[in-house]
């Protein structure tokens, strides 16, 4: 696993974190993020969109726990996929959510899938944990990723790191 890029939001916040010109030399991608939103609530969902593609071809299923309830949500033919949850402006100060996203075979000629987990423990009465299953029904290689909050800009010190993972060779048998 090799670090490709780390982006930290500066003063004034940002509408999103963008990884551009992603090298096509790896097999899989892995993103780790720590985000907080300016949205006037305790929490707000975050999402990714790839290649600036806002076509209605993103699919998502996720399970969610809050510490007192469970739920499952879906997105069908949407323009992005939810991958986690951020503390919002009304959450305990200085708390940021955490999450990671794994994208296998991002440069292949098949439809793309990714898995994601996100949490926003914030010392409040409710904190969310999300496990998400995502798909982008497009065969293009992923060259760009936008990570952002569904509702509002990200605050300063929100950060995300993009890693490239290279597969091995051989070592398996089939029958």
């Amino acid at each position: 696993m090799r670090l490709i890029e780390t982006i930290t939001v500066g003063a004034g916040g940002s509408n999103g974190i963008e990884f551009n010109n992603i090298p096509q030399t790896y097999t899989d991608l892995f993103i780790v993020h720590s985000l907080r939103s300016t949205f006037a609530a305790t929490q707000s969902l975050n999402f990714i969109r790839v290649n600036y593609n806002a076509s209605s071809i993103y699919q998502n299923r996720r399970i969610e726990g809050t510490g007192s309830t469970t739920a499952s949500w879906s997105q069908t033919n949407d323009t992005f996929t939810v991958v986690g949850v951020n503390p919002g402006a009304n959450a305990t100060a200085n708390t940021f959510g955490n999450g990671h996203i794994y994208i296998p075979n991002y440069a292949s000629a098949n439809y793309k899938t990714w898995s994601a987990e996100g949490v926003n423990e914030n010392n409040g009465t409710a904190a969310y944990q999300i496990v998400a299953s995502c798909a982008w029904h497009n065969t293009a290689a992923i060259t760009q990723i936008t990570l952002a909050d569904v509702n509002s800009p990200l605050v300063q010190y929100s950060t995300a790191s993009l890693y490239g993972i290279t597969r091995g060779s051989g070592g398996a048998t089939v029958a």
Partner: protein, 174 residues
């Protein structure tokens, strides 16, 4: 330069349909194993369970687990038992599912090379965009203290693994 800690051990992309994929003689030089899979099967159904068998152990009773499952409309949790001679690794899209969609599995075999504990496997699998989309998390215990030296994957209902399915094995340095 940072020291790499996730080391690629093996990789396979199926060029034709196959009934099984096996990683044998797995190096014992790492702390954990990570197995990343994108798979689809040929079973004449919407989905088929992908089974993982450890060290040739086909005793279902040696695999126990807990699962949480989200369909998009319902969230559930249940205890899982071994099945098909291994443990259920996820419901992969099969022949009747949405064309072009492969399921995704991320398996973590913790402390796989030790000989002093039963093995714990963390599994995240997802089938968004398929005919039966799910997000799922599972933890499985393999009731053996033996180090893990081989992994075998196959369809639980007799379907073959479809050409284009990929299997990537990594070792994680402690």
């Amino acid at each position: 330069m940072a020291t790499p800690t996730m080391i690629p051990l093996a990789n396979l992309t199926l060029g034709s349909n196959q009934s099984t994929v096996t990683f044998s003689n797995i190096s014992q030089n790492y702390r954990d194993l990570v197995l990343v899979i994108t798979a689809r099967t040929t079973l004449a159904a919407n989905n088929e369970s992908l089974i993982t068998q450890i060290n040739g152990d086909s005793t279902n009773a040696n695999y126990t687990g807990v699962r949480m499952l989200g369909s998009g409309s319902a969230a559930s949790s249940d205890a899982t038992a071994g099945a098909g001679g291994g443990f259920d690794t996820g419901y992969m899209p099969a022949a009747s599912s949405t064309s072009g969609v492969f399921g995704q599995v991320n398996l973590n075999f913790l402390d796989y090379s030790t000989n002093d504990k039963h093995k714990t496997i963390l599994n995240r699998w997802n089938t968004a965009g398929s005919g039966t989309p799910y997000a799922a998390g599972t933890v499985v215990r393999w009731a053996s203290t033996a180090p893990i030296t081989s992994l075998k994957l196959f369809g639980g209902s007799g379907g073959n693994l479809l050409a284009g399915s990929t299997f990537e094995l990594f070792g994680v340095i402690a």
